[in-house]
């Protein structure tokens, strides 16, 4: 009988164990996706321009010496800014990319607001290889966070045919001041009927170009103190802007596509802009040979140079799992690969700030569209001259205020008052 009791117990045990095993089988899937702490095999990157920075990332992916599962996600720049702000301020890094492209003028606001969110990548590449003016906006407290992507070096693109018709040559446009530019513009308008420039009244990009060429910005060196009312370069820039409007050679645009349309349609004679506009100009093939690039005009004051910067951007790595992989990828491509930069210039037209690359062949190449001008080489040379400024945190907030005051100024408000009011508004708003 004892044997039998033992045997029954054994059977019972077997049954229980079997059910447990079956039950365990069924709930196996539940626990798998819980932890995100491990190294992911997919690296994600956010960028905004499929023809420019996204294309550059694609090339980098090809050029990378190792295998990488890189997913590039296209987002509008505004969306990237908004998503980053939302994500980082909530402290949850969920859904954040490993690599994100940030415009230099916005970079400090992110770095300073969320210093722990970004991963310092200064050890992965040699910062001395990059243009100096790119390092200030991309670093914080001595730590390098950004890997510079494109320069944003500016130039004055102009229609050679229109200017010739008005009696001007390349010589006449080289190393001029904005006043000289306005005079030329008046001539062009009078002789050809074409507007000289297309501007979006809501975007003071041209003002920024002007003041950086004189080494000034909306804020002082510390990046925080609002510097408008006693800012001489800004004052001069405002005067120049108003002079252009009053000269009546400005074609207003309200968005990017209209801006592009303005020069693609042949309505304007010059485009003072960052070098990244070149692919958009070249897109209009009927105008091949009719364009040239001169150095950007400078402010008529001491210390102003014929070089400035507009809208360059840099790559940042977020401090989330996969950061080492992402940093290694960036360092191996954008951080140290000269050959890759040649491809970048040739295929995408993106001009990096990696100085060793400037010796490469592609940088010396002549550009047929620009009548054989060595455009890249020229931009490269101007890049070296760009004065370094601290963009600080509040570039776009201040610019909104300035844009409103600019309209008041155009309507006749006194410039001193305009700047004083803007200063007051900015100070109260940014306190």
């Amino acid at each position: 009988m004892k044997y039998f009791q033992y045997r029954k117990t054994w059977l019972l045990m077997l049954t229980v164990v079997t059910f447990l095993v079956l039950a365990a089988c069924s709930s196996d899937d539940a626990n798998s996706n819980a932890d995100g702490g491990e190294e992911p095999d997919k690296i994600t990157a956010w960028a905004w321009d499929p023809h420019f920075n996204i294309a550059a990332l694609e090339i980098a992916k090809e050029a990378y010496s190792e295998d990488i599962n890189l997913e590039i996600i296209e987002n509008a720049q505004d969306d990237i800014v908004q998503k980053l702000n939302t994500g980082l301020s909530s402290g949850s890094m969920k859904g954040m990319p490993n690599i994100v492209l940030i415009e230099d003028q916005r970079a400090q606001s992110f770095l300073q607001s969320y210093p722990d969110a970004f991963y310092p990548i200064g050890e992965y590449f040699n910062t001395d290889d990059f243009a100096n003016y790119k390092l200030a906006p991309t670093s914080l407290d001595g730590k390098q966070y950004g890997l510079p992507f494109d320069t944003g070096v500016t130039g004055l693109f102009f229609r050679t045919d229109y200017l010739q018709e008005a009696g001007y040559t390349m010589e006449d446009l080289t190393n001029i001041t904005w006043q000289e530019y306005i005079e030329i513009g008046k001539d062009v308008k009078a002789k050809t009927g074409k507007d000289m420039i297309s501007l979006d009244p809501n975007d003071l990009g041209l003002i920024r170009v002007m003041i950086q060429s004189a080494g000034s910005w909306y804020v002082e060196e510390d990046g925080e103190t609002v510097n408008l009312v006693d800012n001489e370069p800004l004052r001069k820039a405002f005067e120049n802007y108003k002079a252009m409007i009053e000269a009546d050679f400005v074609k207003a645009n309200s968005d990017w596509s209209q801006f592009i349309a303005a020069f693609n349609s042949g309505d304007v004679a010059t485009v003072p802009s960052g070098n990244w506009i070149a692919p958009s100009i070249e897109a209009e093939e009927s105008q091949a040979g009719k364009w040239a690039v001169a150095p950007i005009p400078r402010l008529n004051m001491d210390g102003a140079v014929n070089a400035s910067n507009q809208g360059g951007s840099s790559f940042y790595v977020l401090d989330i799992p996969g950061k080492e992989k992402a940093a290694e990828f960036l360092a191996d491509t954008f951080g140290s690969n000269s050959d890759f930069y040649q491809d970048l210039v040739l295929d995408v037209g993106a001009l990096g700030t990696y100085s060793p690359a400037a010796d490469g062949e592609a940088y010396q190449a002549e550009n047929d569209y620009f009548s054989g001008q060595t455009v890249i080489s020229d931009f490269s040379a101007w890049t070296e001259e760009i004065p370094s400024v601290n963009y600080g945190l509040h570039t776009y907030a201040i610019e909104d205020i300035l844009a409103a005051e600019m309209q008041n100024y155009l309507k006749g408000k006194d410039l001193d008052k305009v700047l004083a009011d803007a200063q007051a508004q900015a100070e109260s708003q940014l306190k």
Partner: protein, 606 residues
């Protein structure tokens, strides 16, 4: 084949039991499995339709709030004098343009903030001035837009907000969009001075509901023409399905909660909600099979069921095997019982029941054995007393005749002969009255025979001679009383009716470890079977006759001993009595040789 059949037959209890159990286990499991799946399906569909109705309502609210903000924005733009003024202006200076561009954007910015952030807002004037709040979403040019059908539709219905679907193509940078359009009209003249567009990319519209969808549970938005303008199943976007539209209309109008439909080449459960303000239908298609498959893992349930069945069948197999095996063994033992004279107990093993049964059977067997033993004992006792009675029954005629003979001898003064006869009679009687089981030595028997013969010869003369030939080594052997005498008597009185003269020979010798006594006469002979019938009662010496001897020997010593009679007419009869060798000195040894006898003798006191 036969082997298999026999195996099945011998195991038939097991086979039946096992089959019944297996069939019931399987059928119970199958029934439970199916009803579980069916019940969960029903329950799921029930809850699913309830949840999805609520979900649809929530999505509907999102769409309504979207449409509200579109209406609100439209009214604001329509009523905005600045926008109207700037849209109607032509040929302005840079200063004016700069000013108006700035102002209009500022105004639009203010109004645009009411809109869901993903929607765009475009204002287009008759003067080809275009203001785009989010050119990155849709960088459309004024020329392209003003000639597009959506603008023309708007122009034809200037007082309505039209929600128009623009399928993917160059016009929208390859992204399908839903554009709310409204012509901006002067209130007094009803002149159209511009257009307002509130485009939302399909993928942004999708976000209104995408979170509620899953594989097999899709949502699509259909306009009043049956065109699918948005769906989480992107391949459906741009298709037109009148059937789906009809089904949606029907469910909506009849207030049905859900409906089974076959659309887009598949069977679906359809839930719908109308968006009359947008002239759209919100349709929720549930691929029942897929969703249920995802939710209820049939394969797993079936696998678990199979595992349970296998386990149960295995356990049933082991248990029933154990139970029936012991029973089967028991049955086999019992059916073989006869071979072992019902005295071999069955082995008690196996399950509780089998062991109880075996024990009971053994107990019964023992009782039976005992009973049979008792019966045999009683029978033997009875037979013995019968024989004894016969033995003691000295025939009075014999005594009478003998005494008469003696009387005549005395009368004739043959005193010596008379004395001799009486001397012979006395031991004869003494011998006959003893115990029927008692044995006497061969020597004594011979003496008895001689006495008997003498008496007979005294009475009937000596025309029949008797010779005895006894092997001297046999003299001390024992044999039962009155074993040989009846044959001599028989020979005396029946063998010599014709011949009148002759010999009777008595031979006793040991042969093959047996004591063989032969009574041979030279008389008439007879037919063997007749011997039994002769019952000359008067002539007999005692109740023990020829008839009893054989029986008595076998009773005493077993089947291998007894009488053999051979006879030939006119030549004589030969009776062979075969007995065991009983040596009184080592009687026990001799007896123990025969196992069968042991019990017989063991039970008696000799």
């Amino acid at each position: 084949m036969n082997k298999l059949l026999r195996a099945i037959q011998t195991n038939s209890l097991f086979v039946k039991m096992f089959l019944v159990m297996v069939i019931s286990i399987i059928s119970v499991t199958v029934l439970i499995t199916f009803s579980t799946i069916r019940m969960s399906n029903n329950l799921f569909m029930e809850t699913f339709s309830i949840t999805n109705t609520k979900v649809l309502n929530q999505i509907k609210q999102q769409f309504e709030s979207y449409s509200y903000s579109v209406v609100y924005t439209t009214i604001n733009v329509q009523n905005n004098g600045t926008i109207k003024r700037l849209l109607t202006k032509e040929n302005v200076s840079s200063l004016e343009a700069s000013n108006s561009f700035y102002t209009i954007k500022e105004q639009m910015d203010r109004m645009f903030s009411h809109n869901p952030s993903d929607a765009n807002m475009i204002v287009l004037g008759k003067n080809n001035q275009l203001f785009n709040m989010k050119y990155i979403n849709w960088s459309v040019s004024a020329d392209a837009l003003i000639d597009h059908p959506i603008t023309k539709n708007s122009n034809q219905h200037p007082n309505e907000i039209l929600y128009q679907f623009v399928s993917e193509g160059d016009f929208t940078n390859g992204r399908p969009m839903i554009v709310a359009t409204k012509a901006l009209t002067e209130r007094s003249t009803e002149n159209v001075y511009g257009y307002l567009y509130i485009p939302i990319r399909e993928r942004d519209l999708r976000e209104f509901y995408e979170g509620y969808t899953s594989e097999g549970n899709s949502v699509l938005v259909m306009n009043g023409r049956g065109e699918i303008i948005s769906s989480n199943q992107q391949e459906l976007i741009g298709q037109t399905s009148q059937k789906l539209l009809a089904a949606a209309k029907e469910t909506e109008e009849n207030g049905i909660e859900y409906k089974d439909v076959h659309v887009l080449d598949k069977d679906y459960l359809l839930l719908t909600s109308a968006l009359p303000a947008l002239d759209m239908y919100l349709v929720n298609l549930v691929d029942q099979e897929l969703v249920i498959d995802n939710l209820v893992d049939r394969r797993e349930i079936v696998l678990i069921s199979i595992a349970i069945v296998l386990l149960a069948v295995g356990i049933v197999f082991i248990i029933s095997r154990r139970m029936t095996t012991s029973l089967r063994r028991l049955v086999k033992q019992i059916s073989n019982m006869a071979k072992y004279d019902f005295n071999k107990p069955v082995a008690a093993s196996g399950g509780y029941e089998a062991r109880k049964l075996a024990n009971a059977f053994n107990y019964m067997l023992n009782e039976l054995q005992e009973h049979v033993d008792n019966l045999i004992k009683a029978q033997r006792k009875q037979r013995k007393s019968e024989l004894e009675a016969l033995q003691h029954q000295i025939n009075p005629h014999f005594l009478y005749n003998t005494l008469t003979s003696v009387k005549f001898l005395v009368k004739e003064n043959k005193k010596a002969e008379a004395l001799e006869t009486i001397d012979a009679l006395i031991p004869l009687l003494q011998n006959a009255l003893g115990n029927v089981d008692e044995t006497i030595t061969v020597e004594q028997e011979v003496t008895n025979i001689k006495n008997y013969v003498q008496i007979n010869q005294t009475r009937y003369g000596d025309r029949i001679k008797v010779n005895t030939l006894i092997s001297p080594d046999c003299l001390h052997y024992h044999l039962p009383k009155l074993v040989i005498q009846p044959f001599i008597e028989n020979a005396f009185f029946h063998a010599f009716t014709e011949k009148k003269q002759g010999f009777i020979q008595i031979l006793i010798a040991e042969r093959d470890d047996r004591l063989v006594c032969e009574v041979v006469d030279t008389g008439d002979g007879m037919q063997v079977n007749k011997m039994q019938g002769n019952k000359g009662k008067r002539q007999l010496f005692s109740g023990i006759g020829v008839r009893n001897v054989h029986e008595r020997i076998q009773l005493l010593f077993g089947k291998e001993y007894g009488i053999e009679v051979s006879s030939e007419l006119n030549k004589g009869t030969k009776v062979k009595i075969i007995l065991p060798i009983i040596d009184e000195n080592d009687k026990n040894n001799t007896i123990s040789k025969d196992n069968t006898k042991t019990r017989f003798l063991g039970g008696e006191n000799f």
